[in-house]
Amino acid sequence: MHDLTTRFVGRLRARDPQAWFELWETFGPILRAQLARWGRGRIGPETVADLSQETLTALSSAIDRHDPSKGARFSTWLLAIAKYTLSDEMDKRFAQKRGSGIKPLSLSPQDDDGPRFDVEGGERPDQEYEAQVFEAKVDAALRQVERSAGFEDFEAFRQRVLEGQGGRAVAAALGTSEATISRRAGRVREALRGALSDVFSKYSFTEEDWDELPRNGLELNPKKGQDASFDEALAEVWLRASRRRQQKGRS
């Protein structure tokens, strides 16, 4: 486990509200989506919101018992706590409504909508969830850079890289030259690489977590000329995440 991770977990253990807010801001939406998916048709959006908060509460007590040497991935760890929070809630409900004839919620691996994983080394969380966690980490890095970079630099980067507009078009839109746009985008790209390293350090417990970056084309230590492929990969991740959110919004 990286030093930053240790420090971040340490901040969580110390009940640092900033660290908890950061965790909530980054992964709260994913937890809500996952809980809603499991509880589809059985729990309403209000309960999902409550449960996702309870998940973080449960996380705050679980963080003290967390043993990094077990080798569970961060995403798996987070999902395990969400799973137990939900199953605990459902147990409470069915204890109150025993005999009401409602089919109990199944969280077993056989359930189509349920999680396919086991913290102790069984099946893994499904690909969609893993993709969401990865995208959330990239988003967190982007937000971090957006806050630190100048507005015009980030705007150049957003239009040129994330939205994939041509250099000339972006230069015209922002009233500057193509060379300036390239320079600004380059500055943000460098900052983003640093932010990605920072965010993945915080939210990665295993080397497997780290491997997601190069696997998705986001090389943090690029060779010469790899900027274009980094940009393309980043734009793809951002676009994929946006579409996923849009679909979720519609459904």
Binding site: Q18, R143, G164, Q165, G166, L174, T176, R245
Partner: protein, 693 residues
């Protein structure tokens, strides 16, 4: 002589006829051609929208049929319950059930209207004409109950210690749904005595008021009451509150009644007319106008030292007089010594506010106005996207909207240090966009905030707002310009903007290439079709010449060979940019299949997105093509990559000849070779139907 004279007259008559008759015939022919084009135009539109309209029609009919049945059942039940309670002499319950019956009957009438008229007429393309009627009908049907019916049953309070639901000097007319604070909201009318008392204090008395009432007896808590009363002092300075009263167990205050829909309902309605194409001209102007009104109101809040703290679409009312801000529950003085709280609404509240609140920062230590500006940006995003910004400032625009407007949203939602420093600055950018002849052609670099040409906030905040007419002095007693409404098809904000003389064209509007593509949508069907046909004929003609030159260098024309090609190169696209490409692609009919490919995939992806937004069907890879075509595409791409350069005529000939046989499904092809769109080399289109085979 007579014979000669008659002969001359006859000759003269024949000569005149010889001139006039052909002229008449030409005129008739032109009219006929015009009629044919008109019919083609209508058919084309019908076909374009037919599929979507049909689905909406079926869905709407089913929904409304079910709603009608369930409404009737509910109405019968409500009637039965009401009659039963009459027998039991339970007056309040009877009123409740009869109100419910009325609601159900109104819903039934609305469903019946949509079943009989609304959906069928919409299917026939009369949606826009119905929109106005449908907007007014529910208000018309709901009006009597909300305004008057209940009012007669409520006695006018005469005592100082008023009971819940009774307020001295006011006659309660109806109830509004309670807000998030749990307070009760009553619509009321001031008694003549109260009205004259208020007038004597210099307060303008509106026709109707809203009384927001908190009572420990009805479940309100002391902290709520304290918070609201604190906000009230501040809101009173803006003239948003007529009067208030606090006693041992209850508290209420009186505000002007704002009739109209909330902004989220308005946004939904605007987007219903535009499908997924984004807001169109008049609607877009209205959306910008609403955002402009909001920033003007916020500028006044901030100049009075106040922070609204809960800017969101459901707290904004769009009425006939323009936009109004309601719900003053969280209004806070900017210089307050209190600690920041996390109150507000997710997605419209800056996450930075939560971060600072968790640090225990005091209100006066931050610029609270900037959080309102963030909310304004989020509201503008909602107007443009008909959805909340789920991803904060990184939220993507999925519907077409002007780049400059997207920039305004981002600037408003940017990091605290990069954000607009005052609502008035955002207001100036929006004003610039309102004035622009073609808002789509305005670049972010043209905006006043970007050029650094901003006036000071105070200069801006005291100008007249874009509302059509202010019914009463709401904002600190300033007199807002009243603009008479005109019977046109524009929204109130647009009308007001025009009345204020905001129609002067900008130089930017003259020079942008993309304007042609956007203007095409505003042309009449005949003109658009005629131009499209002429364009197509030109492309076919010049395309044939162009191709024949490549196929047979040195040979002037080879119409026979050229007519074999399915896709033709467009004229003069040696160095196009995105706007030109899109303008060319926009000439295609919707659902056309456009392949965007080439060695440079980075520039292909954004172009595909743009094409998709334009309503065409971009092909990202070979998935949408037949396997035979896929193989040929791969082969073609390899051939193209192997060639020295696309400027090589031989390479173009190979590509053109190859795609002729390999891509029968395609309507157009964009071949990208360079680093970005400026290096697009080949842009080809399917030939006119008549010469394809």
């Amino acid at each position: 002589m007579n014979v000669i004279g008659g002969g001359i007259l006859l000759l003269f008559f024949l000569a005149v006829m010889a001139v006039i008759l052909p002229a008449i015939l030409v005129w008739v022919a032109v009219r006929l051609v015009g009629l044919v084009f008109r019919i083609f135009g209508m058919s084309n539109r019908t076909l374009r929208h037919g599929g979507g309209n049909l689905m909406r029609f079926v869905k709407g009919m089913l929904n409304d049929a079910l709603s009608l049945v369930s409404g009737l059942v509910a109405a019968i039940l409500a009637l039965a319950m009401g009659l039963t309670n009459i027998l039991l002499l339970r007056g309040r319950t009877v009123r409740h059930y009869f109100a419910a019956l009325e609601d159900e009957l109104v819903a039934v009438v609305q469903c019946a209207y949509r079943l009989i008229l609304g959906h069928p007429l919409r299917l026939l393309g009369m949606g826009p004409a119905l929109a106005n009627l449908e907007e007014r009908m529910p208000q018309m049907l709901a009006g009597p109950r909300n305004l008057e019916t209940q009012g007669h049953d409520v006695p006018m309070p005469q005592t100082t210690n008023s009971t819940p639901g009774e307020f001295e000097g006011y006659r309660v007319l109806s109830q509004l749904p309670p807000g998030g604070s749990g307070a009760l909201l009553h619509v009321a009318r001031a008694t003549p005595e109260k009205a004259s008392e208020l007038r004597s204090r210099g307060v303008s008395v509106p026709d109707r008021v809203v009384i927001k009432a908190f009572s420990l007896d009805t479940g309100s808590t002391l902290p709520q009451i304290v918070r609201e009363s604190r906000a009230l002092e501040a809101a009173g300075r803006l003239g948003l509150v007529l009067e208030h009263r606090l006693d041992e167990s209850s508290f209420h205050y009186v505000m002007p009644f704002m009739a109209g829909d909330t902004l989220d309902v308005t946004a939904k309605r605007l987007h219903e007319r535009s499908d997924d194409d984004g807001l169109q001209h008049g609607d877009l102007q209205d959306a910008i106008g609403h955002a402009y009104d909001l920033t003007r109101i916020l500028a006044r809040f901030h100049s009075e030292g106040l922070w609204h703290k809960d800017i969101k679409p459901s707290n904004l009312i769009v009425g006939p007089t323009g936009l109004q801000v309601v719900d003053l529950g969280l209004v806070t003085p900017l210089a307050s010594a209190m600690t920041l709280t996390t109150h507000g609404t997710e997605y419209y509240r800056d996450p930075e506010l939560v971060r600072l609140a968790m640090k225990g920062v005091k209100v006066h230590q931050v610029d609270g106005a900037k959080f309102d500006i963030y909310g304004s940006g989020a509201v503008l995003y909602t107007l443009l996207e008909n959805s909340f910004p789920a991803h904060g400032s990184l939220s993507r625009f999925n519907r077409p909207s002007p780049k400059a407007l997207q920039f305004v949203v981002r600037k408003a939602m940017a990091d605290m240090d990069s954000r607009y420093s005052a609502a008035a600055h955002m207001s100036q950018d929006l004003e610039y966009l309102l004035k622009a002849e073609d808002v789509w052609s305005v670049l972010p670099a043209d905006l006043p905030s970007y050029r650094g040409g901003l006036a000071t906030p105070m200069e801006v905040s005291h100008r007249a707002p874009a509302t059509a007419q202010a019914p009463y002095r709401t904002m600190g007693g300033s007199d807002w310009a009243a603009v008479p409404s005109e019977p046109d098809d524009l929204g109130p904000v647009t009308r007001a903007a025009q009345a204020a003389g905001w129609n002067s064209p900008t130089p930017q509007g003259q020079r942008h290439l993309g304007r042609t593509a956007r203007r095409r949508k505003r042309r009449g069907p005949f003109k658009a079709l005629a131009l499209a046909v002429m364009g197509l004929l030109s492309i076919t003609f010049y395309g044939a010449r162009f191709t024949s030159l490549f196929n047979n260098p040195g040979v002037s024309d080879s119409a026979a060979q050229a007519s074999d090609l399915r896709l033709r190169p467009t004229a003069d696209l040696s160095n196009p940019d995105l706007t030109v490409i899109l303008a060319e692609l926009n000439k295609l009919s919707p659902q056309s299949l456009v392949l965007v490919t080439g060695p440079n995939r980075t520039s292909a992806r954004p172009l595909r997105e743009e094409i998709s937004r334009a309503g065409l069907t971009p092909v990202a890879n070979d998935a949408s093509l037949s396997s035979e075509t896929s193989r040929n595409w791969i082969a073609g791409a390899q051939v193209q990559r192997g060639s020295s350069t696309c400027d090589d005529p031989a390479a173009r000939v190979r590509l053109i000849a190859w795609q002729k046989v390999s891509a029968p499904e395609l309507d157009a092809l964009v071949w990208l070779t360079g680093e970005d769109l400026s290096r697009t080399e080949v842009l080809l289109f399917k030939a006119a139907q008549g010469s394809e085979d």
